[in-house]
Amino acid sequence: MPIYRYKHRRPVKDQEEVILKIQLLDQGSAASHLIDIPGPNDNDALNSCTVVLGRGRDLKKERTLIFSSPVNVDPNVNDIQLEFYLNDEMIQHHTNPKTVDVSPQIIMTLNFE
């Protein structure tokens, strides 16, 4: 199954702190995320999570990548859904039917400028 690739470009002030929130939407959902922020400190996170990405000036140096692998084990839920937020603003809603992929791979590329 193809990987779901999303890109988001965002202006950010040097001193601004950027917070990423990944929100699962349905019961029976779980997920593993790998957040690759500029520098050596990558983060692994599970399920719905909130991660401080850092200050604007550091984030502008390189792209930030988020690798998400959501699953859903409720037989009554047909779709896998999750949402990405930056500082409480939704930037991407992902949905795919479980009949298409029970274990989708998502790559979200964030470019801060």
Partner: protein, 428 residues
């Protein structure tokens, strides 16, 4: 032809007998108690998924344009608070392995139903609202730990996949490698070195990728190669199989469970919302047990109904009623490949207060009428051949609902299956 006609006649005679019996399944805790208590069968039940949707549904249906209270016709709403709270809803550990308290909350739902066709005086249509709740507790959830283990395993696998896909992104960003073959070779070495997979797993991954005949132009086809690596990893670690196993365990409803439900009706006999009466309140308890091997099945029922005697006297004078009514019953089934044996019994106890007096010394004297009845049935089925089943029913039905004096049931039937069309016949 003659024998088929004879069998049909026997079957019909048995069918009419079966209609006389009270069915134990009708006494079970209903899925929408609020609708059952006002005697409606709504075309659809609204099940909102957020508190905002609950609010919108209630306001849009129960308030008119002047913000006055109205009773909607053929309306049914069911709200499950546990699943409306995003914090409890998304607790995956409690979802796959709920304890008894969590199970009770997960299955708890409140229902509201309304109608404009609630009959009084046999023909007069009035407004009525039903309010109900139901829940269920499952005991002996043995699969919880297993489901948690499989889920932990799945998350560990997809975490490794995230890291492998990240490595492919890093390699591609370097823009040094142009050939898919060299890319996969380098990836194989790297994921072994950083401990993401064993050497044999890495070899299997490469074998799966080799079978895909990927284009060698990595620069032009990187996304295609990356998709193939994801698919190869899923195939290697069988992520889909693990998820399927958890879903199968989620669907497994074997074990002991008790369903509870209660509902009350509210009638507005003169169409004014300021004046209402509660004619009837009902409570259900339904214990059941089903072992994993599917050979046995047990179902118990307990239904208690309270009726407002004054209401029935005034608005439903022709109806036969009791102040209190208790229905109880049980069914035990044993099934094997060749035969099945089923025993079922239902009892009923009813009581009605006729008169209550208090004398000058404070002694209370109550006069009441009571009624009771009992029915039981044994059913035996034996499969003589693939398409012929011999059935025998023996028992006693309720005297109350029997139109004849004879309440004995003793019926033997021979059922001929005509069979489904065979594949070769369809092809012809």
């Amino acid at each position: 032809m003659k024998s088929i006609f004879l069998t049909l006649l026997i079957l019909l005679s048995f069918y009419s007998n079966a209609q006389d019996k009270e069915k134990i399944s009708l006494l079970k805790a209903p899925s929408s108690p609020a609708s059952v208590v006002i005697g409606t069968q709504p075309a659809a039940i609204t099940r909102p998924k957020s508190w905002e949707a609950v609010e919108a549904s209630v306001f849009s249906n129960f308030l008119n344009s002047n913000s006055s209270l109205v009773i909607p016709d053929d309306f049914a709403l069911e709200v499950s608070p546990y699943w409306l709270n995003s914090k409890t809803k998304l607790d995956i550990e409690k979802f796959v392995d709920p304890n008894i308290g969590t199970s009770l909350l997960q299955n708890l739902s409140f229902s509201v139903a309304s109608t404009k066709n609630f009959l009084i005086y046999d023909t007069v249509k009035t407004d009525a609202v039903g309010l109900g709740l139901r829940t269920m507790i499952r005991f002996g959830e043995k699969n919880g730990e297993r489901k948690k283990d499989i889920l932990k395993n799945v998350l560990a696998k997809v975490t490794v996949r995230n890291h492998i896909i990240k490595i492919t992104e890093d390699f591609n960003a370097e823009k040094k490698i142009k050939s898919t073959k060299i890319f996969i070779k380098k990836l194989r070495r790297h994921i072994i070195d950083v401990g993401l997979v064993t050497e044999s797993q890495a070899d299997e991954l490469v074998t799966i990728l080799d079978d895909k005949s990927l284009p060698d132009d990595l620069v032009a086809k990187f996304d295609e190669v990356q998709d193939a690596i994801k698919d190869a990893f899923d195939k290697l670690r069988d992520v889909g199989g693990d998820l399927h196993a958890i879903e199968s365990l989620q669907k497994d409803l074997s074990g002991f469970k008790i369903e509870f439900a209660a509902a009350t009706s509210l009638n507005f006999p003169d169409h004014r919302t300021e004046y209402s009466i509660i004619p009837k309140t009902v409570a259900w308890i339904t214990p059941s047990w089903q072992p994993k091997d599917q050979h046995f099945e047990f179902l118990g029922v307990l239904r208690y109904s309270w009726y407002d005697g004054e209401y029935y006297k005034k608005y439903l004078p022709t109806q036969n009623y009791f102040d209190h009514n208790l229905d109880f019953g049980a069914r035990l089934v044993f099934k094997s490949d060749r035969f099945s044996l089923e025993g079922e019994m239902i009892g009923r106890r009813s009581k009605q207060l006729i008169e209550r007096t208090v004398d000058s010394e404070g002694f209370v004297t109550e006069k009441s009428k009571t009624s009771g009845d009992f029915q039981w049935l044994l059913n035996f089925n034996y499969r003589l051949t693939e398409s012929i089943v011999l059935s025998y029913n023996f028992g006693k039905k309720f005297n109350l609902v029997s139109e004849t004096a004879n309440s004995l049931i003793s019926v033997a039937t021979l059922n001929f299956g005509l069979g489904a069309p065979k594949l070769e016949n369809i092809k012809k």
